[in-house]
Structures are given as structure tokens and as C-alpha cells.
Symmetry: C2
Amino acid sequence: MTACIGIQIGVLLSHMGKYDPAIQEIFHALADPTRCAIVAALGQGPRTVSMLAEPFEMALPSLMKHLAVLERSGVVRSHKQGRIRTCELVPARLGQAEQWLAEQRAMWEARADRMVDFVESLHRQEQAHGRRRR
Amino acid sequence: MTACIGIQIGVLLSHMGKYDPAIQEIFHALADPTRCAIVAALGQGPRTVSMLAEPFEMALPSLMKHLAVLERSGVVRSHKQGRIRTCELVPARLGQAEQWLAEQRAMWEARADRMVDFVESLHRQEQAHGRRRR
């Protein structure tokens, strides 16, 4: 049953243009206030884990869990030098989520535009019809 | 402790520009393949609940739960006429998430640009210094 839903969703998603199945991981990574705040802090530049931990007054293991979710989604990457781990933002990954949202909006707006065109063409036809009758 | 973290995060988030605390609800709503597929389907135009249910082969109560999450986030709205519920996308709400992502990227990119400016000014100073010494 689950596999079946997976296939059905796969078929549906394949019609959604350049769909990256990992895009939900980005949204999942951002569906938390601490992780949103980490992303915002990293927007200012790379930060060590202890610099990131400071404003949260959070136990380090909890912060590391949030960082792991962000890293898994590809929104953040980190490297370790000696005992210090430094994190940085991967803006291209945020850009992918941005693009997906923009595509859904664009589809909706194109449809709304087509609706306006359709109503306008109906209006023109009606006016032309009215002139012929006069 | 939790309240304390809340306040700290609040302070941090207040530095993040026009921050809407409900933005995580949008990301949470999109952190699921079924809900992403529903948003993509609604990009094509309003759909009744039974039209939305069709490609998923999913029990209606499960689909309704997904729709409730999307409605709570403001990404989707619905209205009932008789026994038929019709859902439609709220593109402005997707736009808010898009804007938040764009802001984080812009912050990062502005910082990267400042870094390039700094390196270039160092290079110019070095060249001027070299010319004076010749």
C-alpha cells in the first residue's frame, strides 16, 4: 500500500517539472524556529558550533541534532579543524526551495492570466456581436 | 527553560528583518511529499477534495489530515458548497516563504560581495605600495 502511494506520488511529482525529491528535506529542515534562527545567523557568515550555541542557551547535543538535520538537507555544511567545527550556509540549496515555490506560484498565476485572457476575449466577441447586430 | 529558549530565539529572530513566526508552518506544511504534490496539483487550478484524492489512492481521512495542515499554514484555503469542498492555492502565502529564503540568501551574498571588495582593496593597496617602492 505504502509502495503504491509512493509510485502514485512519483507519477504525480514527475509532472511537476524539475522536481527534486530531496526538496522536502529542505522544508523539513526549516520547519523549526531554532533551525530557522541558525540559518539566519549563518546568513551573516560562517560560525563555529559554540558561537551558534550561545544565543540559544541550549544543551550542545540538542543543537548538534538541529545542525545534523540542516546538514542532511544540504542547507548547511560544516568542516572540522582540530577540535573546532565551523558551519556555513549553502545558499544554492536555499535557492532550490525558493525556485520550487516560485514555480508553483508561476503556474497558478499563469492560470489566473489565462482566465483573464479568456474573459477578455469573451468580452471582445460579445462587443463585436453587438456591433454586427446594430 | 523552554520559555527562556523561546525568548532567546525571539530576540535572535527579531534581528532577522520582517520575521513572521508562522513561516515555519509553511515549511512544515511543505515537508511532506503528499502535501507537496497537493500544492502542485492546486497550482493547476482549484480542485475538489475527491479530485485531489484520486491520484493518491489514499483513504479520505488521511488526505483530509494533509489538507488540514496545508490550510492551517495558510498555503491552501477551501470552501464548501453543499457537500462538495473545493480547495485552492494561496500564492501570496507561498510568496512569503519564498521571500524569507531570498532574504537569507541575499544576506549571505551581500557578505560574500563585501569579502570580494575587501580582498580587491587589499590588492589595490598592495599594488600602490609596490609602485611607491619602485
